[in-house]
Structures are given as structure tokens and as C-alpha cells.
């Protein structure tokens, strides 16, 4: 066991995977010598050489397209897109190519790639360093979508993603890289070194894709969250005194419906929270599933707390961000309904 930040855990996942399997290659903008703008690949080039970890030209479509070609050959590329906000040039490669390769070739060609990218806001990054585009990927058949919320999960999920036979979109909440963030931006963040989930095994382990984790047991209502919002939910539960059951989805696709349904059947109430915009967000899918499978157990309407339906603003970041106050308000309303 070691103490790791989320950055170190992600790096360790790639390190372990590269050591075990020489078909694993890592590349992306600034990931080679420098080790990535968030330093997630630091040291990998020195350790595994320039042909296993290298800088890519600034071409996201090129990075993903090349990864698909390498995967078709038999490698396992784990590539980095510098920010999720820059993935759109690669969207065609991901949606039309990576996601469909297995299906359209009847399994003759497959695409075991991982596309890693920092996601979410809270760093005053404006509209080009803050977006949460997960729903653009969960909407596409053939992709898996993972959003870890802590170093332990990040490492185990990333190893599982690299070993997965299908393309995985791996979204790393950048506001969590150095410590759990509960939305109280005016308070200092506790570093991962002081958090139990900053304790991570050095070697190989996996957190299986498609399994949620119950982060807090409770009986009043269920909060469905992932990434940064897990900590916002914890803060809101504490501040409202509402005995919330908090589910960290960890993998959005495939989704752990059993854990969700069991919880909502128990509590009878459900609040969904994500940082991405509301309309057609992943919360809409969750709400539809919860009402389908838990309709007769629900004691009130399902609530969604999300980023507003505007581009991510710079100055108004904390008015945009769905923090503990907004979530707490929705929880109280749900309890009263």
C-alpha cells in the first residue's frame, strides 16, 4: 500500500499495465518527456522508452485515429486528450470508428483503447477547461464510460479499462486530482494523503467496470453521483442532516442498475447530481431508469441538480457549479414532497 494522489494513482495504473503487457502504449499531447500537463504520465517515457510513451502532434482526431489503428494491429493504446473540452475533433473517430469497429466487422477487428481526459470544472478554467461531456459518450453504443472519484478507484478502474476488450472513455475529474473537493471552494482541500481512499496498492488490482459503490449508507433518500459530485453529496448530507445514501456510480456505462434500484427501493426518494448541463444529461437517463424500476417505491418526484444549460462561465464559476447549497435545497424539497 502507498499514499497516492489521483494523479499518482493514474500514473501507477499505466505503469503497472505497461510493465505487465508490452502491447500497452501511451501517447498524447505533452505526455512524453514532460509527462503531461497534469503530470499523469511523468516518468513513463524514461522507464519504457520513447516508442511506448511519446508526444503526439496536437491532433485529437489523429491521436484517437492512430490509437484505433494500433488497436486493430493488436496493441492496447491508452491515450490522453489534454482536456475533455478538446475531445471534439476526435469525436468522429470515437463515435463512427472506435465504437463500431467490433460490430461492423463482426468481431474480426476490435478496439481495446482507453481515451483518458481530465473533465469538470472548479479551477476557473472557463469554457475550454471545465466541461463534462460524459453524456456525449454514454449516448453512443459500443463505448464504455468511466468516471472515478478517488485514487483507489482511479487506479483499479484504469487498469480494468486498459484490460477491457472494448473502447473506454475514462474521464478524470481534475478538481479531484489533488484532494477530495466538496464544492466549498473557499475552504482548503484536504490532500489525498489524509483521506482513506488515498491508500492505494502499489501493484496490480482492478476495480471492475460496471460496479457502483455505496459511499454512505442512509435511509432517507438516495443520491446518485459520480466524480466530484460524490463529495458535494457528502457535504450536503452532513449539512442538511438528511440521512442520504450516496451512490458513487464509478462506471456510467455499463451502469450498475442493481445497486441503484436496491437503494431507491429502500429509501423511496432519489436525487441525481452532476456537473454537466441538465438537458439530455446523464441524469435524464438515470431518472428514466429509476422511475421505470422503482416507480411504486417512489414517495416523491426524482430531482436533478446539475450545471445550468449555459456554456461553462469563467467569473460566475461558483454560481454555475452545483454545490452543496443547491444540492441540499433539492434534498430538502425531495424530503418534503
Amino acid at each position: 500500500m502507498a499514499r497516492m494522489t489521483m494523479i499518482e494513482a493514474i500514473r501507477s495504473a499505466m505503469d503497472v499495465s505497461m510493465a505487465r503487457d508490452d502491447t500497452v502504449v501511451v501517447f498524447g499531447e505533452d505526455v512524453g518527456y514532460f509527462g503531461g500537463v497534469f503530470r499523469c504520465t511523468q516518468g513513463l517515457q524514461q522507464k519504457y522508452g520513447k516508442t511506448r510513451c511519446f508526444d503526439a502532434p496536437i491532433s485529437e482526431s489523429g491521436i484517437v485515429g492512430a490509437a484505433i489503428g494500433m488497436a486493430a494491429y493488436g496493441l492496447r493504446p491508452c491515450v490522453e486528450v489534454q482536456f475533455a473540452d478538446y475531445v471534439y475533433p476526435a469525436y468522429d473517430q470515437i463515435v463512427s470508428e472506435a465504437a463500431r469497429l467490433r460490430y461492423r466487422s463482426n468481431g474480426e477487428f476490435t478496439c481495446p483503447i482507453v481515451v483518458r481526459m481530465p473533465t469538470g470544472g472548479g479551477i476557473f478554467g472557463g469554457q475550454t477547461h471545465s466541461q463534462s461531456p460524459e453524456a456525449l459518450f454514454t449516448h453512443v453504443s459500443g463505448l464504455k464510460v468511466v468516471v472515478p472519484s478517488n485514487p483507489y478507484d482511479a487506479k483499479g478502474l484504469l487498469i480494468a479499462s486498459i484490460e477491457d476488450p472494448d473502447p473506454v472513455i475514462f474521464l478524470e475529474p481534475k478538481r479531484l486530482y489533488n484532494g477530495p473537493f466538496d464544492g466549498h471552494h473557499e475552504r482548503p482541500v484536504t490532500p489525498w494523503s489524509k483521506h482513506p481512499l488515498g491508500e492505494v496498492p502499489d501493484g496490480h488490482f482492478v476495480v471492475p467496470l460496471g460496479k457502483a459503490s455505496v459511499r454512505r449508507e442512509g435511509s432517507d433518500l438516495t443520491i446518485l453521483a459520480y466524480g466530484t459530485m460524490v463529495y458535494v453529496a457528502e457535504a450536503a448530507a452532513e449539512e442538511t442532516g438528511i440521512d442520504a445514501e450516496i451512490i458513487d456510480l464509478r462506471t456510467l456505462l455499463p451502469l450498475d442498475l442493481d445497486t441503484i434500484v436496491a437503494s431507491v427501493k429502500k429509501t423511496g426518494r432519489c436525487v441525481i447530481v452532476h456537473e454537466a448541463t441538465l438537458t439530455s444529461g446523464f441524469g435524464a437517463e438515470l431518472a428514466a431508469l429509476v422511475q421505470q424500476y422503482c416507480f411504486y417505491n417512489l414517495e416523491g418526484p426524482i430531482a436533478r441538480v446539475t450545471g445550468w444549460d449555459t456554456p461553462y462561465p469563467h467569473a460566475q464559476e461558483w454560481e454555475y457549479f452545483p454545490g452543496p447549497a443547491r444540492l441540499g435545497q433539492a434534498m430538502r424539497e425531495t424530503m418534503e414532497a
Binding site: 516508442t51 494491429y73 472557463g126 475550454t128 477547461h129 449555459t310 454560481e319
Partner: protein
């Protein structure tokens, strides 16, 4: 691992038996020097100032292919303007150019400091590249449109855009023309021919071509200029821009600012085997010129040549400005992790401000004393603008854009769902 494909696991012996050439290997380019090494640019060929010919603007692009591999330079080591590209600017204009570059440099220094003091979240400076945007701006006419990146604020400074408005944007304060919505330095000013900066690389290169095509469709006289960095030329949109510009002979100047670095990535990663970035234009039949980007006179002369071509409906020109990013990529970057600290002083094309200053002294139009005085005046002007901007707030203190502004401007007319959300937000 279960899914390993046998092809990936062929061993070298097996491969050796299959071909007389031995196994393949992957080439990954590396810069000559990394931290700890001694910078050495002796392999960068720098032609003598004045040595590159100046063709007529209606030249057949096929005849000037070598200009994509040379460097057009006007100022020589002695500070004299020499050769066929010299003589496009008067003393007055050159003095203004010097003032613009000095202003940009001072502006950068103050804003970097303001960022460190927590008055804004982020800043990007131009150190070493001031001549490119400042001189280019002077080759344009009113009504022309730039599609800039984040490192062309000289277009605004040299175009007379008020510094205080730039600072208001940087501070995201109550006077921010963009209402706090955009990251600092992502300015927008239609009036000053400065298209809204997106922050997503290269998306706007092809938009510049589209704007220029529109001007041609409407039989207008205005032209457009696209801007991209060395690194960002790798994006597909760069190639889309070149093919559209080539096919429709669009009245556009396509600028590549090769400052040697794209964050930590040296220019060889984006350039590959083509020799130069300018050479990218040749396959599209677009005249392509390389110019000393630290030479105000050369930049202006080449820009003027390209602007005239566009204006005369002769089509696009690709220009590569050879320069060097002296500072960090942004306030989030520390270049000492990936390049030697001394690299910028070893850069063979010198400092654009110093070079123009020395030239003006040589011409008898300037002096050390006047330069000192100008430095002080400029600093005063920048500080005065900053005081005024700060009186309207900084990112975390004082006047702010309203939270209502966050909901405005997503659409021409606010749809009901946003209206509901705004109410829910209580604003």
C-alpha cells in the same frame, strides 16, 4: 492477457526470417537539447538579411517554392535595413511600431504580476513574439478581420484598442466586455477586426477562410487573416483551411507563428519531415513564405505583400514567422521542466524590441535617452489603465459581472427552459 493478438507478439527472430530488411522501428523525433544540456542552434540555417529576393505579388506560386525554405530578413546585425524587402515603413511608423511592442511587453509584465497577485486566474504572454502581431496589424486596412489565437494581443494594442478594456476582460470585472464568460485573454472586438478567440486550437483557421470567401461572394474589398501556432498546425482544421483557401483562391492571409514550442512539445513533432511549416502550403499550390518573426520590418513587408495579394484577388498566402516563445506557455506552465533555461538567450534571431530600437538609433530617429523616457511613459500609461480597470473590480474583489449575465446570450432569445433555470438560480 486474454485478448492479445498474435501479430503484436511476433518475435524479432521470426520477423528477421520474413524479410531481408530486418525489423521495423518507430521514429520519434526529439529536440536537440533538454534541460541540463547546452542550447545549440548552429544547425538552424539563418540566411543573411537582405539575401532573399522579393517577387512581384502576382508571381506564379511555382516560381517561389524556395521561399518556403528560406527566411526573409531585413534587419542585419548592424541594425541596418537591407535588401529588397526593406523600405515599407517611415520613421514615424517605425517609432509607432516600437511603442506598440514596448506597450505589449509592459502590458504582459503587469498582467503576469496581477495574475500572481490573484487578481485573475490565468494569463498568457508574448515575450519575444511582439513583432509578429504588432507589425502584421499595420499591414491591414479597416474592416479586415483577424481570426487570432491567444498570442496575438499585439493586433489589439497596435490597432488602438483600449488597454483598459483588455484588462477589464482579464479581470472578469463589471466592465468586462465579455461579461465574465470567457477565460482571460480570449478577447473579442469586431470593431477592431479581432474575431472572438475560442481557445480550441485551429478551429478558427478555416473560419478565416470562410470569412474571406464570404467577402469574395459579396464582391467586397475586405480580407481575412487566420492565425495558428506551430503545434496547432497538426489539427485537421489546418488542412481544411488550406484546401478551401486553395480551391477558392480565398482572399486570406494564413499565418503560422512558429515559436519553436507547443507547451512542452518541440516544433519537430508537428512539423515532421516537411522541413518547414511554410512548406505545408506548397502541396496546395499556395505561395508560402518564411520570415524572421523577430524583425519588425521583415514581418511588416511580408504581411503587406500577402495582404496585397489577397486584396488584388490573387488568393491566399501562407506565412511562417520564425520566432521563439521566451516565456512560459501560460501562467500554468514551467518551461524549465522541458527545455534549458538558457535556450531563449541562445536563440539566433535576437529580441524584436531591441532590434527595432537599435535600427531606429542607427537611422538617427531614436536614442538611448528617448528609449528610457518612452519606457517610463509606457509604464505610466499601463499602470494608469490598470488602476482604472481595477477600480471596476478584479476576479475575486470589487465589481463583478452579474450572475444574470451567465444566462444571457446563449441564444438571441432566451428559451423557456433557461428562463426557468435563471429563476431557480434566483437572479
Amino acid at each position: 492477457m486474454a485478448n492479445k493478438v498474435s501479430l503484436a507478439n511476433r518475435n524479432r527472430e521470426e520477423i528477421g526470417r520474413m524479410t531481408e530488411h530486418g525489423p521495423l522501428s518507430l521514429h520519434v523525433p526529439e529536440p536537440e537539447v533538454r534541460p541540463g544540456g547546452t542550447p545549440d542552434f548552429s544547425n538552424v540555417p539563418i540566411p543573411k538579411a537582405g539575401s532573399v529576393p522579393r517577387p512581384e505579388v502576382d508571381v506564379d506560386p511555382k516560381e517561389i517554392r524556395d521561399l518556403a525554405y528560406s527566411i526573409i530578413r531585413v534587419l542585419n546585425r548592424e541594425g541596418e535595413a537591407v535588401g529588397p524587402w526593406a523600405g515599407t515603413l517611415t520613421d514615424e511608423e517605425l517609432l509607432q511600431g516600437l511603442r506598440d511592442m514596448m506597450t505589449l511587453r509592459t502590458f504582459d509584465a503587469r498582467m503576469l504580476m496581477a495574475q500572481r497577485q490573484g487578481k485573475t486566474s490565468f494569463y498568457m504572454q508574448h515575450m519575444g513574439e511582439e513583432a509578429v502581431s504588432c507589425a502584421f496589424r499595420k499591414a491591414l486596412a479597416p474592416g479586415d478581420m483577424n481570426f487570432p489565437t491567444y498570442r496575438q494581443a499585439g493586433l489589439l494594442i497596435a490597432g488602438g484598442y483600449p488597454m483598459v478594456d483588455m484588462m477589464n476582460q482579464i479581470f472578469s470585472n463589471e466592465r468586462d466586455p465579455l461579461k465574465g464568460r470567457q477565460l482571460p485573454v480570449m478577447y473579442s472586438s469586431k470593431e477592431h477586426g479581432f474575431f472572438s478567440i475560442s481557445g480550441n486550437l485551429t478551429t478558427q483557421y478555416i473560419q478565416a477562410v470562410g470569412w474571406a470567401m464570404a467577402s469574395a461572394i459579396r464582391n467586397d474589398t475586405r480580407i481575412a487573416a487566420g492565425w495558428v501556432g506551430d503545434g496547432a498546425t497538426a489539427e485537421s482544421d489546418f488542412h481544411a483551411a488550406l484546401v478551401f483557401a486553395s480551391t477558392y483562391t480565398a482572399p486570406v492571409v494564413l499565418n503560422i507563428v512558429n515559436n519553436q514550442w507547443a507547451i512542452s512539445t518541440f516544433q519537430g513533432i508537428a512539423r515532421g519531415g516537411s522541413g518547414t511549416f511554410a512548406a505545408r502550403g506548397l502541396g496546395f499550390g499556395i505561395p508560402a513564405l518564411r520570415v524572421d518573426g523577430n524583425d519588425y520590418l521583415a514581418v511588416h513587408a511580408v504581411a503587406k505583400w500577402a495582404v496585397e495579394r489577397a486584396r488584388r484577388n490573387l488568393g491566399p498566402t501562407l506565412i511562417e514567422y520564425v520566432t521563439y516563445r521566451v516565456g512560459a506557455h501560460s501562467t500554468s506552465d514551467d518551461p524549465s521542466a522541458y527545455r534549458p533555461k538558457e535556450e531563449s538567450s541562445a536563440w539566433p534571431l535576437g529580441d524584436p524590441v531591441l532590434r527595432l530600437k537599435n535600427h531606429l538609433i542607427k537611422r538617427g530617429a531614436w536614442s538611448e535617452e528617448r528609449h528610457k523616457q518612452a519606457e517610463a511613459e509606457i509604464l505610466d500609461a499601463v499602470i494608469a489603465a490598470q488602476k482604472e480597470a481595477e477600480s471596476h473590480g478584479t476576479l475575486h474583489a470589487g465589481g463583478k459581472p452579474s450572475v444574470r449575465d451567465m444566462f444571457e446570450g446563449v441564444y438571441a432569445e432566451m428559451p423557456p427552459h433557461l428562463r426557468r433555470q435563471r429563476q431557480e438560480a434566483g437572479v
